[in-house]
Structure formats: structure tokens, C-alpha cells
């Protein structure tokens, strides 16, 4: 439940492209993640990252805005609510 944010979520909330999200996640070391369980028909597993790790990474960037933090927090809260339901 702690691992909540997908790459798409991070991209949407931080208004960043895939390349920026990838380098944010992989530099200086790859952030820990958990993969979603694949569905019955298989398919690629989605990696989920922790809010704390992502915030620690993005808050040091020059392009960081407070709205991004609020959006990430909202996405994380929504995911946790969904898991509880």
C-alpha cells in the first residue's frame, strides 16, 4: 500500500515527459518499487513507487512547483483509498 505512484501518475502530476520521469527515477540510483500483479490475460507489470521517494527526488529540481506535490499527494491518497475499499 505504500507503493502507490506509477510512472504515468508521476508524469501527469509533474507535467514531465517519459524521459524526464525515467531519469528522475533512475538517477543517481533506481528507486525501490513494487510491481502490480499481472491480470489473468498477462500483460506488462506496472511499477509503483513510494510518494516519499518521489518527493525527495523532485523537490530538489529547479522545475519543482508546490502544485506538483499536492497532485502527487492527492494521487497517492486516492490509490490508498481504492486499496482500502
Amino acid at each position: 500500500m505504500t507503493f502507490s505512484l506509477t510512472r504515468d501518475d508521476i508524469s501527469r502530476c509533474t507535467n514531465s515527459g517519459r524521459t524526464r520521469v525515467r531519469s528522475m527515477i533512475n538517477t543517481p540510483f533506481k528507486l525501490p518499487f513494487q510491481s502490480d500483479m499481472p491480470g489473468p490475460s498477462g500483460g506488462a507489470s506496472r511499477e509503483r513507487f513510494r510518494l516519499s521517494d518521489i518527493l525527495a527526488r523532485i523537490k530538489t529540481k529547479a522545475w519543482f512547483r508546490p502544485e506538483m506535490e499536492a497532485m502527487l499527494a492527492a494521487t497517492d491518497a486516492a490509490y490508498r483509498q481504492e486499496q482500502l475499499a
Binding site: 500500500m1 510518494l51 516519499s52 525527495a56 499536492a70 499527494a73 497517492d76 491518497a77 490508498r80
Partner: protein, 160 residues
């Protein structure tokens, strides 16, 4: 526990501390104020719920690790989301959840319970007349009697 598992525990602890430090380094001053208020309320709740059964070091560790909780991060990072409890009962529930999830806190509670039980056993055994104690020990009734008295005293302390 062998050397490799001890090293793994140490590495996990170091990683946890790095994450806390990283998070504190990027927390803005106004968020820090909210975070400190949450820390204070959680600490109060922990003391209220568990009293001196939890060691102060364990409480400090749990309070320091709050910054890694997603609900705390959401509450301090966004003005629209507040997942923190609004009344004392809510804070107490949160304190119980934290203790359930923290193995060290569980150990601390078990240790203080065992310590208390041993103290009560000694008191009860000392209160029995020596000749009676000897007679009970010979007939094998002493342990049962002391266990029953310890349970009764613990219930009495808990208010049952």
C-alpha cells in the same frame, strides 16, 4: 540470527534513516511546522495509549519515522488533503496502528509485560508464608496458584 541477516537488518535501518534525512532536507519550513504538530500529537497519543510500556527510544524512533508515512506526507504537503485524525480517539487509533506495524514496539511491550509479570510473581511468592509455600511447592500447587494470582492482579490493574 546469523551475520548475513544482521547485516541485512543494519542495511535496512541505514536505508530508512537515509530516507528520513532526505525527506527532512526537502521539507519546506511551513510544512515542517505542520509536521512538528503531527509529531507532537502522535507522541502524546502513544504515551496516552501505551504509557510506560513503550520505551522512550522506541517512541522516538516511531515519531521520527512519521515523515515516511504516506498519510503524513499527504497532510503536510497538500492543503486540500488532511488525513490526520480530528479527535483524540482518532489519534489513539493511529498510535495503535503504528505500534502494530512496528516490530520493535511490539517487542518493547512484550518485554515490559514480561518484566511486570515477573515482578508480580516475586511479590506474590514472597507474600506466602514460607511453610505454606513449601507445602504448596511439594504438592505441585504453587505455580498454578501464583499464575492465577498474577492474572488476577493484571486484570485488576487493567480495570476489569
Amino acid at each position: 540470527m546469523n551475520q548475513i541477516s544482521i547485516q541485512k537488518e543494519i542495511d535496512a535501518e541505514n536505508r530508512r534513516q537515509s530516507r528520513i534525512d532526505e525527506q527532512l532536507a526537502v521539507t519546506l519550513p511551513h510544512q515542517m511546522k505542520r509536521y512538528e504538530a503531527i509529531q507532537q500529537k502522535t507522541e502524546n497519543a502513544l504515551y496516552r495509549v501505551h504509557g510506560n510500556r513503550l520505551s522512550p527510544q522506541v517512541i522516538d524512533r516511531m515519531v521520527a519515522g512519521l515523515i515516511l508515512e504516506p498519510s503524513v506526507l499527504c497532510s503536510i504537503g497538500s492543503s486540500e488533503i488532511n488525513e490526520m485524525p480530528s479527535d483524540n480517539m482518532g489519534w489513539d487509533r493511529m498510535a495503535r496502528d503504528l505500534v502494530e506495524r512496528e516490530p520493535l514496539a511490539q517487542l518493547s511491550i512484550q518485554h515490559s509485560d514480561a518484566e511486570l509479570k515477573e515482578k508480580l510473581r516475586q511479590e506474590i511468592t514472597a507474600a506466602i508464608n514460607p511453610s505454606q509455600r513449601l507445602a504448596m511447592a511439594r504438592s505441585g500447587e504453587l505455580d498454578n496458584y501464583v499464575d492465577q494470582r498474577v492474572t488476577a492482579k493484571l486484570d485488576e490493574r487493567a480495570g476489569f
